[in-house]
């Protein structure tokens, strides 16, 4: 038996070193360009199709005006038209509703995901309500909440609650039971387990719920602002439609979509920040 120094036992050739870092910078730049191209390529293609679809005869531009007209209407609407004011009003409504859905949905979901009794108690009613369109229940909402901001915010809240709630319950039930056991043997009470194990463990799913919910909140603006409103981006969509002001209608739709996109990426960004442990170093 012999003990030997591994490296010394070999005749080394310098050529054996793989040049892993050569050209790294150039490659990175190329990669970035490719990245942007894939990320926005389809989007740009879509925009071009829209813009030129009418001119090339694919689309009826009396009903779907070219993108440039829509952008012009959007700019006008935001600079001097109704959309400037509408934007603030709608964001407030959607924001309050989404905030309430978050503040109620996450804790409720955590409780329902953890306590079978609570779930059994609330679930049937919740499931029943979840199945009920806010659109259909307008008369009821107006009766109970009036025509003012409350009913609009509530309609939005109602629809955006369920994605958060269901995702949170799902996330909680997916949390590794072994970690909960660990916390229990260290004497953690229910609330501490929630806060320190269940909540962080369910975070990725909760964020899926938040993203669905934020979208829902913005989409529900249209339904919520169909009644008793005279302002709001959602109101503009329907009102412009009724009056056949098509560029303004599309401008409002695009504005809502952009808001949704912004919310989506903002929430994704927040998630990345919160879940740094998942990707750090």
């Amino acid at each position: 038996m012999t003990i030997q120094d591994v490296n010394a036992s070999l005749a080394l050739g310098a050529d054996g070193v793989r040049s892993a870092n050569a050209g790294a910078f150039g490659r990175k730049a190329l990669q970035l360009i490719g990245d942007l191209a894939t990320r926005f390529g389809v989007l740009i293609a879509f925009a071009l199709l829209w813009e030129y679809g009418g001119r090339l005869g694919f689309l009826n531009s009396a009903v779907i005006p070219p993108l440039s007209d829509v952008i012009a209407a959007l700019r006008d609407g935001l600079v001097s038209g109704p959309l400037k004011e509408d934007l603030g009003i709608s964001l407030t409504r959607a924001g309050i509703a989404f905030g309430a859905a978050t503040v109620i949905g996450i804790p409720l979901g955590l409780v329902m995901g953890q306590l079978p009794t609570a779930e059994k108690l609330i679930d049937p009613l919740l499931q029943l309500f979840r199945q009920t369109s806010a659109l259909a229940l307008y008369p009821v909402f107006i009766l109970l909440l009036g025509l003012g901001e409350t009913s609009k915010v509530f309609v939005i809240f109602w629809a955006s609650l369920f994605p958060i709630l269901l995702a949170t319950i799902g996330g909680v039930q997916e949390v590794d039971g072994k970690l909960i056991e660990m916390a229990r043997v260290y004497g953690a009470r229910r609330l501490t387990i929630f806060r320190r194990v269940v909540l962080p463990g369910a975070v990725p799913q909760i964020f899926v719920g938040l993203r669905l919910s934020a979208t829902t909140a913005l989409l529900m603006l249209i339904a919520a602002e169909m009644i008793g409103a005279n302002h709001g981006v959602g109101f503009q969509v329907m009102n412009a439609q009724y009056n056949f002001q098509i560029p303004l209608m599309f401008a409002s739709i695009v504005l809502l979509a952009l808001l949704g996109l912004a919310a989506n990426y903002a929430i994704l960004g927040l998630q990345r920040r919160l879940c740094r442990w998942n990707s750090a170093g």
Partner: protein, 256 residues
């Protein structure tokens, strides 16, 4: 022999403990009428073949699993769920992936309401003790298997329980680190007068640490066996008595 004096901390009394699992309609007896008294401050080591019920027994003692029949009393009170006087080191590290090593180790102290600063200082002490001072800010996924296991050990030690339940805590460690950790466990056990119940596959480790060794049989028709280890401490692994006892234990396992 069963104690009702409150003065005794960390005394465990097991009476006619039975536990079976159902596995695809087949009944699987894991523990069958186990009787055992563990003295306050004793070090009991449990050995036995894979699947012989060591983890199950430990989980029942921890209050994580309920028995089918029988009683477990701790300091005269029946066990009902987990309790702050017990701490467990699981067979897997069970670290919270979103916390750093330091945060994971303070976890138990946080729950006991320690002030942040003191908890950190205490945690750092035990992190150093398990040799991970350089990795206090690392996340679990950045650790090697043995490092993660040591974090789990550090976490359990911080809370200074009356009864420490350890499930193969040193299984993923190299010989040297393992010996160092055995010495540490032995020292902590002696100084803190904690009752230690430890599962291991390493018979040397068993003899090094144990007052008594409980051998769980695979065949539940056989009764479990208890082996007294009355060697003087500190124990010398190469001493004749040590080696002889090791041979005896191996024989108990059907080896040699």
């Amino acid at each position: 022999m069963s104690a009702t004096q409150a003065a005794l901390r960390g005394e465990v009394s097991i009476r006619r403990l039975s536990k079976a699992f159902t596995l695809n309609d087949r009944r699987l007896d894991v523990l069958k009428g186990l009787n055992l008294d563990i003295r306050s401050g004793e070090c009991l080591v449990i050995v036995g073949a894979s699947g012989s019920g060591k983890t199950t027994l430990l989980r029942i003692l921890a209050g994580l699993e309920s028995a089918d029949a029988g009683e477990v009393d701790i300091d005269g009170r029946p066990v009902d769920g987990v309790g702050a006087e017990r701490a467990v080191i699981f067979q897997e590290p069970r670290l919270l992936p979103w916390l750093t090593v330091l945060e994971n180790v303070t976890f138990g102290l946080d729950i006991r309401g320690w002030p942040k600063g003191e908890a950190k200082a205490e945690a750092r002490h035990y992190i150093e003790l398990v040799g991970l001072a350089d990795f206090a800010d690392a996340y679990p996924r950045q650790l090697s298997g043995g490092m993660a296991q040591r974090v789990g050990i550090a976490r359990a030690l911080t809370v200074k329980p009356e009864i420490l339940l350890l499930d193969e805590p040193l299984g993923a460690l190299d010989a040297m680190t393992k010996i160092a950790m055995q010495q540490e466990l032995s020292r902590i056990w002696r100084e803190e007068k904690v009752t230690m119940i430890l599962v291991t596959h390493d018979l040397e480790e068993a003899i090094y640490l144990a007052d008594r060794v409980l051998v769980l049989p695979s065949n539940k028709a056989q009764p479990p066996r208890l082996i007294d280890v009355d060697l003087p401490r500190p124990r010398e692994r190469s001493s004749a008595d040590f080696v002889a006892l090791r041979e005896e234990l191996l024989a108990e396992f059907g080896l040699h």
